[in-house]
């Protein structure tokens, strides 16, 4: 357990240069999730790609390096993906945080660098915030 494990170079890169931040006027669903203990916040929109089951992602967020890097990674992994595809990644991420699953780069991409967070229970919610928001948004979009 040490700091370098949690804050790997790749995490700090995502934090400083996040991918895919943005906002649209009209989305198929928009959700805001917060981490009430620290105030981390994400507003995430999904827009269906016509003729597919897939969704593009737009988000605005504020929070710590972990929650911001995690959202950037989420964008890389799930932008343009369907619920079925994305859910596998979300479940994998949750399992990795609970230490019931070894990180798999094929599924999580840069997300495997978040594995160090699992040693710090209070930070796990930071890492999962955007992933939970994405799942929530896509389910809402499909429901409507």
């Amino acid at each position: 357990m040490n700091l370098e494990n949690m804050y790997q170079e790749i995490i700090l890169d995502h934090y400083k240069h996040p991918h895919g931040k943005g906002q649209v006027e009209k989305a198929d669903a928009e959700v805001t999730h917060v981490n009430p203990t620290c105030g981390d916040e994400i507003t995430l929109q999904v827009v269906k790609i016509p003729g597919t089951e897939n969704f593009n992602i737009f988000y605005q967020n504020q929070g710590c390096s972990i929650s911001q890097a995690s959202a950037s990674i989420l964008f890389d992994q799930l932008n343009g993906k369907s619920l079925a595809e994305g859910e596998i990644a979300v479940d994998h991420m949750v399992a990795m945080m609970q230490r019931t699953q070894e990180p798999d780069e094929d599924i999580l991409g840069d997300g495997i660098a978040l594995v160090g967070v699992s040693a710090y229970p209070a930070r796990v919610k930071c890492a999962l915030l955007s992933w939970m928001a994405w799942k929530d948004a896509v389910i809402q979009a499909q429901g409507s």
Binding site: V34, P36, Y120, P121, A122
Partner: protein, 429 residues
Amino acid sequence: MSKLDVAAIQADFPILSRKVRDGKKLVYLDSGATSQKPKQVLDAERDFYEQRNSAVHRGAHQLAEEATDAYELARKKIAKFVGAQPNEIVFTKNATEAINLVAYAFLNATLKAQFGKPLPDGAQKFILKPGDEILVTEMEHHANLIPWQELADKTEVKLRWIGLTDDGRLDLSNLAQLLNSKTKIISLTHQSNLLGTINDIDTIVKAAKAVDALVLLDACQSVPHMPVDVRKLGVDFLTWSGHKMLGPLGIGCLWGRSELLASMPPFITGGSMIETVTMEGSTFAAPPARFEAGVPMAAQAVGLAAAVDYLSAIGMEKVAAHEHALTELAIEELLQIPGVRIIGPTNTDNRGSAISFVVDGLHPHDVGQVLDNNGIAVRVGHHCAWPVCRRYEVPATTRATFYIYNDDSDVFALRDGIIAAQKFFGVSK
């Protein structure tokens, strides 16, 4: 089933080796009021304070992490003990708060609906209309009576109650009339703390389900003494106290079906139960956090989990069998004393170990005093169930209650003490 090793159990309870009233051995027959605590529980609490004390769910440093883990592990163990899921267990300061929490859910939902304020999905179950009814029984502890009287005083619902038979049981002859389509909730005790009666929850649950009424079971006198499984019982809420089951003072539990908890507005509000807060308004966290405002009693939760471990290691079936045997013996011995009358069932069918009695010509207080003088701690008075005393036309009773650290010799001490009281006051027959 092998018997309890009472001597080994007694050795775990430091207080049992103290002397009372000028050197007399302590015979503790007041576990119905509060149980004693084994050193395993005291050690667990102390270890929490000495190793990981911190405000749970409020920090990210190592102590806060460890304290939070210990608190949530305790919740898991306690949930498992009653067959529940962890997120269905809310920690309160005692059972009384737990019952009030549910009563206030009705009040708050009703008022918020009236003022058009946001409520959780499913809150309709808690919104009271004029003419709605709430049902309790005549054998309730004040903790399960006054909160409902108060609710009725502040809304337009009517409080009704199931009466008692002469032999200390619920009078269910007019149940269908009392538990009807207007009934929002029936709140009753699993085991009477005064009479010892164990109620027939199956019948109540079936009748309540039929009219879509909720069922709250006050399990203060059952969870410590017998196996209790919330799913098997089929009730909607279960409430009990830690201090009556070897746990620390200052902690109680509410179990509720998760969909019900989710549909209830908060009761006590403040920190750690919120989702977002602005000066203009706030939204609330999911249960159990929604109902645990403020820094919680984490050390007590850890102590209670140790109590659960202790009881589980013995086995609740064995605890119940042990108490059953003591109850049988006590009833037999007491009924042999001329002038002694038991208030409550005089057989052991569906009956726990709370034995209330009166002695002809003696006030229960005076009986208790002589017993106390002999080192025997019993409770005297109305036992926070005053309507039961009124029902059986006694001003009060003397009550003995048994637990895992009691044995036959304690029953004999009780018998001898009662006889001594009769002699002392000159009322022997």
